[in-house]
Every structure is written in structure tokens, then in C-alpha cells.
């Protein structure tokens, strides 16, 4: 990073009268009366006035303080921040896609509809499900859509039911989605392996439970190996098994949620299928279902008759629209490009490499950082700061120190069942060399925690800004510039 001098705010660069453009002098009479009565703003108080060079350099300098997947590893567990292949962007920026009008008649966009249908078929093959909608705008929106489908089904049977069961290791969005659908959430405890306690589930499962929402592999990176028994238990009381597919990159090409008796799931195209997210977005959260839930899917549904594609809105039991137009079309294209460029063998290799990379890190760091659950893990592993707390060093200090090594820290303090958690997910896109850089930094930090804990407690030292006051920022955020 090249930042020695703090970049001023754009307001601080501003001085009155500076502009980045010059309008030619009017060569016709001015007719101000044409604008009479219109609510026009004369000026905006405090609006920055800068020249073109100043504005260009200001934002370029700011962009250089940023960290991104093109610069290095982004090991945010549970977020799956993987590299976004450039071929995806190239494909999605072809004018036939970017210039297509969302209201164009179907006969003029047959190619685009065909590609959406192709992606649907490929995702169904990967998940082993029966039907799918590409509409939801991201993962949590997918969860909400999935829960709406479940509610619609139960409602059609005469009783929407009351409860949704969610393990204590779930993504925080799961309870919110269930709650928004009018369900009361009941928590299922994890057992000593860090997986769902089947006994606890059996106690809570009854005919008032609409569904179990399960993340598999779960947020510890552990495969829920009792999933078939869990599915049977949920189905025996007429409930549905919802699978949060956020961690699908550990399973794709190896096993299929549909074969594990999952009834409804969402996929994160912006994670598993390599499209950008976290500021580079937008996301995309298709929802795949078994036949039993198909009638309730959102409209429109893409259908094909004799090689001609059309959008079907005539679906009497549909939950309606969940998104304007047809979802994130360009994101869907990028995911399609990724799947086709990998091919069936490549998809499998993606999952295998994601698991291998995570275990390579785990193996190299175990002993230096505590593993609360020593159950074998797949695509991510969760350490804690327990050994470092002895020296008064927390997961926050470790994360801040990683910034000094030029690396993005892992996810912190999640999942909640691990105190002081450091949740690491390298994904398949990291090379051995990049993994080693991360491992060496973590090893050095473990040494520093022992020998010079203050170095960690005051980190970061060489970044653009030093440690921020997170408590003040949360309690009294200053969101507007004032003179």
C-alpha cells in the first residue's frame, strides 16, 4: 500500500467556483420562464467544488487503499469470497445482454431466455432438485422465498403451522427469514461434534413445525452426517427440510442436496458460482425445490415448447412475484459462464480443492490456535483465540495484526457457538503460494502474541488508518460531513 499521507475528504479539497466542466456561452436568448413553477434547487449547501484532475485523483487514491480479491486472499468464512474470473465479466458485458430491454417481446430475446433455462437445468443437475426460480436477489432473499413457498404449501393444506426449527450454528439470516414469514423460531442445540443434535430435534419436532432450516455443511464447516435421519424425522411430521446452500462449494459435484431428501434450498450464485459480491455485487439467490413445492414458485416461470421459450405467468398457486423482471440476469450469466468453463469434472474439482485448501490451513495452524471442535471439516475451519487470550490477545487483535501483513482477516466472532471465533475459508481459488503466505502470517502472529502482545493489541501499525473505535462508530456514527 502506498498511503503515507491521509487523503482529505472531498469536502476538504473543495474551494468555491472550481468546476470540472465549462458550458459554452448561450447563443440563443435565455428563457427562464419555461422553468417557472418547477421545484428546482438553486444550489446544494456545502456541495464540493473540485476540478477534473482533483476528482479523478481523489477517487483513484481512495480506490488504492482498498483490498480486494484481485489483490490477495479474502478468507472470510461463511462468506465464500472467491476470485471472480475475468471471462465471466467479458461474457456478461456483451451488448446482446447488456442492451436487452427487460420488456422486449419474448421472440426478440429467445437467446437470453434459453441461457436462463440452461442455467436452471445445470443448477438442478448440480443440486438434484426438480424445479427452480432464478428470481431472488441474493441469499437471504432466497431464504425468504423458500420459506414463503413452505408457508404457501402448508396454507393450502389448511394450516400454515407455527414453528420453524433452526440450529444454533445457523446463519443469522435464517431466523430472520422464518420470522418475516410469520413463524416463531425454535433453536436446536449443537452436540459435541458441532452438528445438529438429533435427540434435541426429535423432542422439538411435531405437527406444528413447518420446517427445519439447515446449513450443510454447517457454519463450522462440518458435514451434517445425520442428514438422512434428520430429513426422515422432519418428513414424518409433515415438515419440510430447508437447506441453506451458502456452503454448496463444499459439495457441488460430490453429493446432491436433492438426493439427501432436501425439499427446498437456495444457492448463492455470488458465492459458489464465482460472481462478485460484497460491494462488487449484486447477489443472486436462486431457489430450487422438489416437485411438491413447484406449483408455488414465483412468476414468471421460464418454459419451453418445441424450442421456443416463453415466460409463464399463469400459475394459479404461485406466491407471486418476488423480484422485478427476472432476477439478476447478468449475474446469472456470469454463473453460467463459470459452470460451463469448469464442466462436470471441474465442478467436482472446485469442491475438492476448496476442501483441500481449508484443510491445508487447518493442519498447518492446529496447535497454534485452538480448534474447539476437532470434527473433520470441509471447506472452512473455525479456530478460536483461546490460547492467545492467556496473553491478553483476542481474535480482534489477531485480525487487526493480519492487516499489517497485507492480508484480509477471516470472519470473526461467528459462529456464535465458538467464543472468540476465527472462521477461515480460503476457497478453491487460492494457490499453494497464497495459502502459505496466509499461514506464515498466522504463525508469526501466534509467536507475537506470546512475545510481544502489545504489538497485537495496538495493531494495525502500517495501514492507512490505525485501529478504529468500533464502539463509538456503532453508538455515535457520524454519517454526514459538517464544517
Amino acid at each position: 500500500m502506498i498511503n503515507v499521507i491521509r487523503e482529505p475528504l472531498i469536502f476538504e479539497i473543495s474551494s468555491p467556483g472550481k468546476t470540472a466542466f465549462k458550458v459554452p456561452v448561450l447563443d440563443v436568448p435565455e428563457k427562464k420562464e419555461l422553468l417557472a413553477g418547477l421545484p428546482l434547487r438553486a444550489d446544494i449547501e456545502g456541495f464540493p467544488e473540485v476540478s477534473e484532475t482533483e476528482i479523478t485523483r481523489h477517487f483513484t487514491r481512495l480506490s488504492q487503499t482498498n483490498y480486494c480479491v484481485d489483490l490477495g486472499i479474502y478468507p472470510l468464512g461463511s462468506c465464500t469470497m472467491k476470485y471472480n474470473p475475468k471471462i465471466n465479466e467479458k461474457v456478461a458485458s456483451l451488448p446482446g445482454f447488456t442492451q436487452a430491454h427487460p420488456l422486449a417481446p419474448e421472440e426478440l430475446v429467445q437467446g437470453n431466455l434459453e441461457l436462463m433455462k440452461t442455467l436452471e437445468k445445470l443448477l438442478l443437475e448440480i443440486t438434484g432438485m426438480d424445479a427452480i426460480t432464478l428470481q431472488p436477489a441474493a441469499g437471504a432473499h432466497g431464504e425468504l422465498t423458500g420459506m414463503m413457498l413452505i408457508r404457501a404449501y402448508h396454507q393450502a393444506q389448511g394450516n400454515p403451522r407455527k414453528y420453524v426449527l433452526i440450529p444454533d450454528s445457523a446463519h443469522g439470516t435464517n431466523p430472520s427469514s422464518a420470522h418475516l414469514c410469520g413463524y416463531t423460531v425454535k433453536e436446536i442445540k449443537s452436540n459435541e461434534r458441532g452438528t445438529v443434535s438429533v435427540d434435541d430435534l426429535a423432542r422439538e419436532m411435531n405437527e406444528e413445525v413447518a420446517a427445519l432450516m439447515l446449513t450443510n455443511p454447517n457454519t463450522l464447516g462440518v458435514f451434517e452426517s445425520d442428514i438422512c435421519q434428520i430429513a426422515e424425522l422432519v418428513h414424518s411430521k409433515g415438515g419440510f427440510l430447508y437447506m441453506d446452500g451458502a456452503n454448496l462449494n463444499a459439495l457441488a459435484g460430490i453429493t446432491r442436496p436433492g438426493d439427501l431428501k432436501v425439499d427446498v434450498m437456495h444457492l448463492n450464485l455470488h458465492k459458489t458460482f464465482s460472481t462478485p459480491h460484497g460491494g462488487g455485487g449484486p447477489g443472486s439467490g436462486p431457489v430450487a425445490v422438489k416437485k411438491i413445492l413447484e406449483p408455488f414458485l414465483p412468476v414468471p416461470v421460464i418454459e419451453e415448447i418445441g424450442g421456443t421459450y416463453y415466460l409463464n405467468y399463469d400459475r394459479p398457486q404461485t406466491i407471486g412475484r418476488v423480484r422485478s423482471f427476472y432476477g439478476q440476469f447478468l449475474v446469472a450469466l456470469k454463473a453460467l459462464a463459470y459452470i460451463l468453463s469448469l464442466g462436470p469434472e471441474g465442478i467436482k474439482e472446485m469442491a475438492e480443492t476448496a476442501v483441500l485448501n481449508s484443510n491445508y490451513i487447518r493442519k498447518n495452524l492446529e496447535g497454534l490456535y485452538e480448534l474447539k471442535y476437532d470434527t473433520p471439516t470441509l471447506h472452512e475451519c473455525v479456530f478460536s483465540d483461546k490460547y492467545q487470550r492467556e496473553y491478553g490477545v483476542t481474535n480482534l487483535d489477531i485480525s487487526k495484526r493480519l492487516l499489517d501483513y497485507g492480508l484480509h482477516p477471516p470472519t470473526m466472532s461467528f459462529p456464535l457457538i465458538v467464543h472468540g471465533a476465527l472462521m477461515i475459508e480460503p476457497t478453491e481459488t487460492e494457490s499453494r503460494r497464497d495459502l502459505d503466505l496466509f499461514i506464515e502470517a498466522m504463525k508469526a502472529i501466534a509467536r507475537e502474541a506470546k512475545e510481544n502482545p502489545d504489538l497485537l493489541r495496538t495493531a494495525p501499525h502500517i495501514t492507512y488508518v490505525r485501529r478504529l473505535d468500533e464502539v463509538q462508530a456503532a453508538r455515535n456514527p457520524i454519517l454526514r460531513w459538517e464544517k
Binding site: G172, M412, S413, F414, L416, H419, E470, V471, A474, R475
Partner: protein
């Protein structure tokens, strides 16, 4: 550390019983786990809960956590101070950082809770 006259739950809430009413807060252990608390979503007075149902949520720099009611009851008062100064929970979890007052539905439910010595033993178990 943990007041003798309080009752404690496995989810780290404490109850200080006064007749048919009880003051509720979260324990010192809980506030340490959560870290700096930045917001408390206080419930409305009059809300009724069964044992183990969610009373309110507490947000810290690390996470958002539910506060469960260890027993059944009705919320009769909330600690308005927490709106402006949620850090009271960090500063004085067993005193000024109280969250709300409950009217108890069934005092015999208190028998299901731990006393200070048992709670301290329970915490030791969690450390390992």
C-alpha cells in the same frame, strides 16, 4: 462475584426476586462474552412470555443476541437508562445494567434455576 441472592439461568440471565416481581439482567459472564454493548431493544411494558421465550435482544460490536426469560411472566418495567447508555450492562451488569422487571406467573419455576454457587460451577464447566 455473583450475588448470592440472585437466581441464574443456563443462558446467563439473572433474576433478583422481590415478592411477586423480579428484576432481570444478563450476567457478568454474558456481558464479557458479548463485548461492548451498543444497543438494547427493550420490550414493551405488558409483554407476556413463557419460560425460555425471547424477551429482548442485545446488540454488541460482535453480535446480536437474544435474552430469554428464565420463567413465565409479564414485563412491568424496563430500564429506560439503557436507551442512552447501553454500556451500563458492561459497567455494572448485576446492578445499574438491569434490563427489565417481570411480574412472575408461577414462583415455583424459580426452583428450575441455579443459585450463585451452582452458576459459578456451571461456568467452570463451560471454560473447559
Amino acid at each position: 462475584m455473583y450475588p448470592e441472592n440472585f437466581y441464574y439461568s443456563q443462558d446467563h440471565e439473572w433474576l433478583k426476586v422481590e415478592g411477586e416481581e423480579a428484576v432481570l439482567g444478563i450476567t457478568d459472564f454474558a456481558q464479557k462474552q458479548l463485548g461492548d454493548i451498543i444497543y438494547v431493544d427493550l420490550p414493551v411494558v405488558g409483554k407476556t412470555v413463557e419460560a425460555h421465550q425471547t424477551l429482548t435482544t442485545v446488540e454488541s460490536v460482535k453480535s446480536v443476541s437474544d435474552v430469554y426469560s428464565p420463567v413465565a411472566g409479564e414485563v412491568i418495567e424496563v430500564n429506560q437508562q439503557l436507551i442512552q447508555t447501553p454500556e451500563l450492562i458492561n459497567r455494572d451488569p448485576h446492578g445499574e445494567g438491569w434490563i427489565l422487571k417481570l411480574r412472575l406467573k408461577d414462583k415455583s419455576e424459580l426452583n428450575n434455576l441455579m443459585r450463585a454457587a451452582d452458576y459459578e460451577k456451571y461456568l467452570e464447566g463451560l471454560e473447559h
